[in-house]
């Protein structure tokens, strides 16, 4: 046997050493992996432990979820009705999703499908840069720039936005609706086409009128649900755009080429083939963006106005609202064990609710994400 070949065969001792080294390496890596897991378990345990004394009291529990009377500092009868705070969280989350989801997905579609890879390579890092801006800077922007802007020119801005975005969308969206409805009454293609256009024009015009009527509206306070929603939407954009684009990019070239080869237009290929194929990935992107929005604290504390009222009417985005995270941040300082224990534990009860929501969203994203992988195979 040559010397080289001999070196390749391990003797028993070397094999044993190698085996020990391997298992030691595995153990070290396992420990390192365990650190974050243990941290998560401890955090959940600690929050649950501190929230339990509050939830343990049935009268507290009932008030917490059903009443909007939040007066934790009242002495001697504190009230812990967090309904308006839950509502505020839901409202801001819904508002920012309404802005960020369509904008984010369309941006991802544009970056991945429409523009060339060079342009996309230029714009994607820019969008992702939004994630690097500290949230307090967003909050500062919300107060200094955006709130006065909303107060002074809010109506005009909103009506212009609605005009630019709403009128074409209404016109396009009305077409299939009209087509669907008219198909039930007549088979005459020409009649259907005319009625479709008429309906579309009416829809566009009514949205346009709505937009115009907004222009004279006055917003009394610029720190409100709308302000917080829009700023949060900007913060959620990088997550949504980045992950959606990855999902779109992972749709195979064969799908696109097959669709185009069958005579579908580029528009049809994107909306009927590529987007449905990538829908699990896009859903994950939306859920992760949602989690960013729900968990954000500094921006909502600064931009949402923090009032404790459920807006009237309930969809009024021009009224200030308060979220769970902002409440925890705002009440933390006074809520020591020394100033009444219920006031301290109620904040952990809120953290617990946020944590439960976060876990549910995380589980949802795992579930949806695994569906996505399954389809790809």
């Amino acid at each position: 046997m040559s010397k080289n070949a001999k070196n390749l065969i391990m003797d028993t001792r070397r094999r044993a050493v190698g085996g020990i080294a391997e298992s030691a390496g595995k153990a070290v890596l396992f420990c390192i992996t365990a650190i974050p897991t243990v941290a998560v378990v401890f955090i959940i345990f600690f929050i649950a432990k501190e929230a339990l004394p509050f939830f343990g009291d049935i009268s507290h529990l009932k008030e917490f979820f059903t009443s909007a009377d939040w007066r934790p500092s009242a002495d001697p009868n504190p009230h812990f009705g967090a309904l308006s705070i839950f509502y505020g969280t839901a409202m801001v989350t819904a508002g920012s999703c309404a802005v960020a989801v369509p904008l984010g997905i369309l941006t991802a579609v544009c970056l991945n499908e429409i523009v060339g890879s060079k342009t996309a390579g230029f714009f994607k890092p820019l969008v992702e840069l939004l994630a690097a801006v500290p949230s307090v800077a967003y909050g500062f922007f919300a107060i200094i720039v955006f709130a006065p802007l909303l107060q002074n020119h809010g109506g005009a801005i909103l009506s212009a936005l609605l005009f630019a975005a709403g009128v074409p969308v209404a016109a396009i969206a009305a077409l299939p609706v009209a087509d669907f409805v008219s198909a039930r009454f007549t088979k005459n293609a020409r009649l259907r086409k005319i009625s479709g256009f008429l309906f579309s024009a009416v829809c566009a015009a009514s949205v346009g009128c709505g937009a115009l009527s907004l222009s004279s509206m006055e917003i009394s306070s610029g720190t409100n649900a709308l302000n917080a929603s829009i700023i949060l939407a900007i913060m959620a954009l990088p997550t949504i755009v980045s992950i959606s684009q990855d999902a779109l990019a992972s749709v195979g070239r064969d799908m696109r080429e097959g669709s185009l080869a069958l005579g579908a237009t580029r528009f049809e290929t994107i909306f009927k083939v590529v987007l449905p194929c990538a829908k699990s990935g896009i859903a994950v992107a939306v859920i992760l963006g949602l989690m960013r929005v729900v968990g954000e604290t500094m921006v909502v504390w600064m931009a949402s106005g923090n009032s404790l009222k459920i807006p009237e009417p309930f969809y009024n985005f021009f009224e200030p609202v308060r979220t769970l995270t902002a409440t925890i941040a705002g009440e933390m300082g006074e809520a020591d064990q020394s100033t009444g224990s219920a006031r301290y534990h109620v904040l952990f009860a809120m953290s617990f609710c946020l944590l439960a929501g976060g876990l549910a969203l995380n589980a949802a994203s795992q579930w949806v994400g695994s569906g996505f992988k399954f389809r790809k195979k």
Partner: protein, 277 residues
């Protein structure tokens, strides 16, 4: 050869030790935490004190009166700034943790009730202010202004300013649910400066030209009306230490600075009212 190395190591070690000791003895540290209202005084005092004592390292955080007490209680700071007196419960938990809070009144402060400069309203009574904050009055025309909804801005419940206002003006009645909450005096001022129909309260030192202080019960807030006790919404500002500081020490010098001539000048330059003339 080996001995040489050992010697070098030894002397190096000794030098390092000596250096550390020197660093510890030369650099005293004062950690200050608490109210955003007292914060500017502490900062100005720190700047002044560092000029004559460059070896003293002073860190100041502004996290609200409540958090200041917490820091003091946990031994995380030497001086806690409070814009209200310590609450009995807080006092008790300090004592339980073997901390004995001692109050030093460093200045007086009036709470100015401010509106946007464009607002025609010039004066309100204590009663009217209380009604606005509890939500009984919601339109400026009810107090002689324009027909516009009042945007009520309050400090957050963490702040001593809120506690003072709640006690002196609202008599502990709950603040209206539609009131907005902001996290600092500066933010309250910004909101009023930018919002036509807003009303807010803030430390007199923060009220500059961008907002208009109202006269309360006919009396404008200024140094004279506050120190004479005529202006109704005024309060002392505190620095709390654990026990009385060692006389002649840095902490002692710091919490007695307001009694010196320079200290009084600093206090009044910031818009607060010195304790003694």
């Amino acid at each position: 050869m080996k001995k040489d190395i050992a010697n070098v190591l030894k002397s190096g070690f000794a030098a390092a030790l000596a250096f550390c000791a020197a660093a510890v003895s030369a650099e005293t540290k004062i950690v200050i935490d608490g109210s955003t209202t007292v914060g500017p005084i502490a900062k100005a005092f720190a700047d002044f004190y560092k000029e004559t004592h460059p070896e003293v390292n002073i860190t100041i955080s502004e996290s609200g009166s409540g958090n200041g007490v917490k820091s003091l209680m946990n031994g995380a700071c030497d001086i806690a700034n409070l814009s209200r007196f310590m609450k009995p419960a807080e006092f008790k938990s300090c004592v339980d943790k073997k901390i004995l809070p001692v109050a030093h009144v460093v200045a007086f402060d009036g709470l100015a009730v401010v509106v946007n400069p464009d607002n025609p309203v010039k004066s309100l009574s204590m009663r009217q202010i209380a009604d606005i904050y509890t939500g009984k009055i919601t339109n400026w025309k009810e107090v002689g202004g324009k027909d516009a909804k009042i945007v009520v801005v309050s400090r957050d419940t963490n702040s001593g300013t809120y506690e003072t206002f709640n006690e002196l003006v609202l008599k502990k009645l709950p603040v209206s649910k539609s009131a907005e909450y902001v996290g600092s005096n500066g933010q309250a001022k910004m909101r009023v400066a930018a919002t036509k129909n807003a009303i807010a309260y803030l430390g007199l030192g923060f009220a500059d030209d961008s907002v208009k202080p109202l006269s309360v019960d006919g009396i404008l807030p200024n140094a004279k009306s506050v120190s004479s006790g005529k202006y109704p919404i005024a309060r002392p500002l505190f620095m709390f230490t654990d026990g009385y500081p060692k006389m002649g020490g840095d902490v002692y010098n710091f919490v007695t600075l307001h009694l010196t001539k320079e200290g009084r000048e600093i206090v009044s330059d910031l818009g607060y009212i010195p304790v003694c003339e």
